[in-house]
Symmetry: C2
Subunit: 343 residues, 2 copies
C-alpha cells in the first residue's frame, strides 16, 4: 500500500509509492525511454491492461476485447490504490496516512499514431466526454477530496507510453497547488463578491494582448505571470466551477478550442513535450471536514485548463524558491501562437 | 530590464526575463546541450566573463587575470539585474515590478574536471567560505529580501556550463517556497517555543532510520516526506538561522559532510544530475516592510541545504497539484546511501 506522508516544513503531502520501483538501479537508465516494448494500449492487447473501467465501444462488443474507441483502465503502476482506509496516524511529529486513491488511464484512441490533437472533432469529444464521465464517477467516492485529469505528452514531459492517453488521479487530500488557488479565489470573492477568474477574463478581453484564441464559450490565454514560455490557460468565458457540469453544447466549443490550442503549439513549437492539467473544483461531497472555502465554491471557483510546454529546464533556483524565470513574455508568446497557420 | 509579475491565483511572483532568449526558435534545440563551445570559466579566459566581483587569488595577481582558485563573476545572462529601482505598479488587477536583483556565478575551481566533490577539503572550504562572503555582501543591499545559493549539476539538472560552478540569486521578494517554510517554522515556534528543525533533528537522532551521515556539528538526512528518490537535507545540529554566521570551525565540518554526501550520491547513483539549494534566513536588513515572522527569526528558523538528485520526471500530476509521487522510501534511500563505500 502506498503511504502518504506530510512534510511539516513545506506543508505538503507526498506519496511514497515504493511498488512503482524501489531499487536504485532503476534510476541508472538514461531518461526518455519508453517503459515497455509492447504497446498495452493497442486494440487487440486488452489483456495486457487491468480490466477496463469504462469504454466507448461498438455495440455488441464485450469489455476487454477489441471494438472500442476510448477505453479507461486502472494504471498498471498506480501511484495510489483504490482499496483500503486512510488510517491517519502521527509518527512522532510527522503525519502519515495510507495512499488511498484512484489512478486511471484514458486511452484516447485505438490508433497509436493520432492523439486528441489529430482526432476529428466528434472523436475528440468522445474523449472529453469520457473525462466528464470518470470525474463524475470518481467524485462519488467520499474518500476522495480531489480528482486531477492530466495529460503528459512526450517522454520529456513524463509520458511513459507513447500511445496517446490521459491520466486521472483521485487523492485523499486537497493538493497544495490547488489549495493555494482555491484560497486566492476565495479571498477575492470574499472581498469583492466577484469571481477572480471572471475578472481576469474581462481584463484580458479588454486589453486583448494575451488572447491566443477564443470561440463563443471558451478562451485560451497566455497568463500574465506565466511561469513557462508559451504557457496557456484555457477557461470557460461564462462562470462555471465544476467540469462535471459542462453541457454537451459547451463540450463541443471546449474540445474545439482545446484542439485548436494544442495544434498551435504543435505546429509552432515543433511538437514540444507538454503537460496539460484540468483544475476543476474539489470534491465537496467528500466525507472529510469541509474547509470554509467550500461554502462559496460554486461562486468563487472557475474551472480551467493549464497547458505547460516543457521547453525550459526547471533547475535549482526554481526548486529552491518556487520563483520561476521565464525567458519569453506572455505577449510575445501570444503574438507567436496567434500567428500560427492551422492549415 | 527583466520584469517581475505577480500571479493573483497561485500567489507567486515570476521573472519575465526576455533578454535571456525570446525567439521561439531557441526552444527548438534538443535539451541537454551546453550553451557555449568555449569555456568562459577556464583560467586564461577571464575576459570572456563580466569583470570579477570577488576572487581567491595568488598574492600579486590582478583581477580578471589568471592566478585564482575561486572566482565570482556576474552571470552573463542574468535573470535579475543589479541596477535600478523596483517601481512597483498595478496593471489592472495584476501586479508588477522591475526585476531588480543580483545573479552571480561562483567558479569553484580553475580545473574544469573537478568540482566541489573532488576538491581537497581545504580547497572546498575556499568555495564554501566564498558562499558566506557573497551572502554577507549581497545582504547589505536593502532592496534584496532573499538570497539563494544553489548548484545545478549536469545538463538534466539545468546546468548550462559543464565547468563546476555555483549560482547566487538575490531577489526583491521572499519567494513562495521560502515563505511557506518560514511560516511553518514560525507557527511551530509560536505554539511550542521550540525550533521545528531542532525537533526534527532530535526525532531523527532518536529513531536513527533516516540518517545518511553525520559528524560532530552537521547531519545529512533523508527527509521523512521526501518528494524525490534520494532527496537529502543537510543541517547544522545546533540551532543556527543564518549561513552568514557560520564560524570557520563549523565551516570545516559543514564542507566535510557536504563532500561526503555528494560523494555518496555520485558513487551510488552513477553521478546523477542534481540541484543543491541553501535555505538561509531572509534578509532582515532589507528596507521593505517586515512580516511578523521576522521578529523571532533568530529562534524559529534553522538554515539547511536541500539536495535533489534528478532521477525521476516531474510531470503533469506534480505540476498540477504540488503533490509528489516518490517511488523510493526515505528509509530505503538511507540504507542505500549509508552503505556506499567512499574508498
Amino acid at each position: 500500500m502506498p503511504e502518504m506522508r506530510h512534510d511539516p516544513i513545506q506543508k505538503r503531502w507526498v506519496v511514497i509509492a515504493t511498488e512503482r520501483g524501489n531499487r536504485p538501479s532503476q534510476f541508472l537508465r538514461p531518461k526518455g525511454n519508453w517503459r515497455e516494448d509492447t504497446n498495452p494500449f493497442l486494440e487487440g492487447n486488452e489483456s495486457m491492461t487491468p480490466p477496463e473501467i469504462y469504454a466507448v465501444r461498438k455495440k455488441g462488443t464485450k469489455p476487454d476485447t477489441p471494438g472500442w474507441q476510448v477505453r479507461v483502465v486502472p494504471n498498471k503502476y498506480p501511484a495510489l490504490k483504490i482499496e483500503g482506509n486512510l488510517d491517519r496516524a502521527a509518527m512522532g511529529q510527522y503525519d502519515k496516512m495510507n495512499g488511498v486513491g484512484a489512478h486511471e488511464v484514458v486511452i484516447e484512441t485505438s490508433n497509436p499514431d493520432e492523439d486528441i490533437t489529430d482526432l476529428s472533432l466528434d472523436d475528440a469529444i468522445l474523449v472529453t466526454k469520457t473525462y466528464r464521465e470518470r470525474l463524475t464517477d470518481l467524485m462519488k467516492d467520499k474518500r476522495f477530496r480531489y480528482v486531477l485529469i492530466f495529460r503528459n505528452h512526450g517522454t520529456l514531459a513524463g509520458a511513459s507510453q507513447p500511445h496517446p492517453h490521459t491520466q486521472i488521479i483521485a487523492t485523499p487530500v486537497t493538493p497544495l497547488t490547488i489549495s493555494i488557488e482555491l484560497q486566492s479565489a476565495k479571498d477575492h470573492y470574499h472581498a469583492k463578491e466577484r469571481c477572480l477568474f471572471c475578472d481576469i477574463i474581462a481584463q484580458e478581453l479588454r486589453e486583448n494582448r494575451r488572447i491566443i484564441a477564443q470561440n463563443d464559450r471558451f478562451i485560451a490565454l497566455s497568463p500574465y505571470a506565466s511561469r513557462f514560455p508559451f504557457e496557456i490557460c484555457l477557461l470557460p468565458k461564462h462562470h462555471a466551477h465544476d467540469f462535471r457540469e459542462i453541457s454537451n453544447d459547451d463540450l463541443i466549443d471546449f474540445t474545439r478550442l482545446l484542439q485548436d490550442t494544442l495544434r498551435r503549439i504543435r505546429i509552432g513549437l515543433d511538437d514540444p513535450p507538454y503537460n496539460l492539467m484540468i483544475h476543476t473544483a474539489p470534491n465537496t461531497g467528500s466525507d472529510t471536514p469541509r474547509p470554509s472555502y467550500w461554502n462559496t465554491i460554486k461562486y468563487d471557483w472557475h474551472w480551467h485548463v493549464e497547458i505547460i510546454p516543457r521547453l525550459t529546464d526547471v533547475a535549482g533556483f526554481e526548486w529552491g524558491t518556487g520563483l520561476f524565470i521565464n525567458p519569453t513574455s506572455p505577449e510575445q508568446a501570444t503574438e507567436f501562437l496567434r500567428g500560427i497557420q492551422l492549415g
